[in-house]
Amino acid sequence: MALHILLLAMFFILHTAILKRYLASERRILLFHIGLFIFLPFCSIAIKSQLGGQIISLDFFLIYGISAIYSLSFLELWSLTEGSYSLQILNALQAGINVRDLGSSIGHQKQVNRLKGMTGLGLIQEHNNVFEVSRIGWLIALMTSFLAWTAGAKLRE
């Protein structure tokens, strides 16, 4: 476990020093972390066995769990600092821009961008300027409704 945490720390330092220049898009960073999640535990186990350590099946579960926590936390922080709407508002306020005056146009732009993004991901489809959810989009909408229900909150406006 200690070896695996050390490897993850090395990857984190590598990211801050070099990799962040090449992993600037959402797709790239996501694919990188999927790869890291799949392959790094194998590397840890291989290094441990080379060093003469005893491998038990529990090691796999523990190491995969730690990798999963690392990747999810990293991606959450990455997306929060990359494109969070609230953070953009706070940044603009700090820069002295009165964002509320721009409110409507920002909101409009956000909706256009999200519609484009979701169309690109295949969550919605557009026919003759009419948008409709795809099968996968419908499933995601249903799942998010369920999650909001378990959280005990109605979907906010």
Binding site: L62, G65, N91, Q111, L115, V130, A141, S145, A148, L155
Partner: protein, 158 residues
Amino acid sequence: MSLIYGIFATCMAVLLHWVSQFPLKSMGTLARFLVVFGAITGVLIILQIALKLPLEDTLSAIVWFVFLCELYVFLFTLSLSSISVKILQLLRHRPMTFVEIETTYRPDAMVNKRFERLQTAGLIEGQNNFTLTAKGRKLMFLLNFVKNILHCNRKQAW
């Protein structure tokens, strides 16, 4: 086995999160979940001590429980506040044109809601001309510090 324990503990946490909305009405959604999460982690530790389970097994179960809870928190906060999710929810009921989407989910109302939330969280203050509070400035410093670590420097376009 540890993975199964982790999944079972997470299912219990989600169930208790739903139940907790009735006795803990005044608490926020996330705060309620943290209470449930803390209680279940405590139970897992007590079970480990009482039943003398192998430490590695309990540790592995707790690691998976933490990961699944983090994923759940990420997903339910996304469900509650994401613009994309809100649009998907609208389109789930019927197909709409862009004008219909804008009329139902008004951009200015959307922005006002964000301001309300930031104000409730104590990050901004004011009526029409908003400014950052001390708490907001501290958060911005922290997030910009993290941003510099994780991202290449790019200017925000407005």
